[in-house]
């Protein structure tokens, strides 16, 4: 099986990555990082939301607040990972988050047709 980069078939993979991932810069230098949840399929809704906020003039504060939260979370995460991760084997580190992922995944799967 060969991997694909077909533009149509991989659009969601692309949006997931470019809009939500990638290297994070040192916070002092950033004027903007789209660290606000931007989901590919909901781009329109998200962007329309921003327009509305701009119109009512609350964007500035909201943006500042979002950025501050994002920076704090990143910093916190970094500290946590630095203090926790080295003590765990990489394998266990991954698996410890696996249980909750599974639970999360199947908890919404209520409809079973027989």
């Amino acid at each position: 099986m060969q991997p694909t980069r077909d533009a149509h078939a991989t659009l969601v993979d692309l949006l997931d990555r470019v809009l939500e991932k990638g290297l994070v810069l040192n916070a002092d230098l950033i004027i903007n990082v789209a660290g606000i949840p931007l989901l590919g399929v909901n781009l329109r809704a998200y962007l329309a939301g921003i327009e509305t906020m701009l119109k009512y003039g609350i964007w500035q504060d909201w943006d500042e607040a979002q950025r501050a939260i994002a920076v704090r979370e990143r910093k916190q995460k970094r500290e946590e990972e630095q203090t926790n991760a080295p003590g765990l084997e990489p394998e266990r580190y991954l698996l410890s988050s696996l249980d909750s992922k599974i639970e999360e995944k199947y908890s919404c799967k209520e409809e079973v047709k027989i």
């Binding site: 099986m1 991997p3 078939a9 230098l29 903007n32 079973v112």
Partner: protein, 272 residues
Amino acid sequence: MAEILCIRCQGRYVYGVTIGDKEVRLGAIGIDGSEVYTIPYGDISAIVHDCSTKPYRSTDDEMVKNWVRAHQSVLDAAGEQLGVVIPLGFDTILEPRDDATSPDQVVRDWLKLDYGRLREVMRKIEGKNEYAVQVSYEPGLIVKQISEQSQEIRKIKEEMAAKSPGTAYMYRQKLERAVKADTERLADEWFSDFYGRIKKHTDDVVIEKTRKLNNGQMMLLNLSCLVAREKVDSLGKELEEINNMGGFSIHFSGPWPPYSFVAKPIVTVKGE
């Protein structure tokens, strides 16, 4: 109103960081046809274009998609021409803090500040790419398989057939619970099995949230895999085998720049 006017060009949109100590011009391949070039510091360079200090925003999602595609194609071109590339996410723009600093200097200051971290990330991703792997299954198939195999479910069904409609309703609920429990058990088994089989062909794996699919299938696992060039074929073969089991469909995309493996701070490996 998404036209980007670069009047003062005080911003530098950063696509990624690559290796190289010379300024390289990559041409007008950037977002909205911007000229893309590199700003070196020491032996590493930022891949940038000049822009205003206003972030890219639009209500037209086709336009945003085109920006995202352009962002990606710059990283593709840089990877081909320059070698290892650390990808940045969309809309990362640097601007000078004061009038005394030039925009290029800000980029160099950042490269200098993060030099150690950037070299470490490069070492980790050198010769590797990211691949997206998603495995989905047909819900009808799993239920059929369970119904045929489970003694308990067969028993409930037999009993149910002989009951009055009122009692049958209770049996029906019992049946649903039994099927649900079995479905979860089986899906967990598949998850662990596939995860283990895929992981051994990778250098690192991130478990992503599963997505809702609109073709009626259920996504069982969604992984971002960091894979060395020479291991891509063996990963492809493993996925082929999973595909051949029947009942599963596999999405395998890439190569991508390692977006999912550059955001985390580098954790010192034991023994280093």
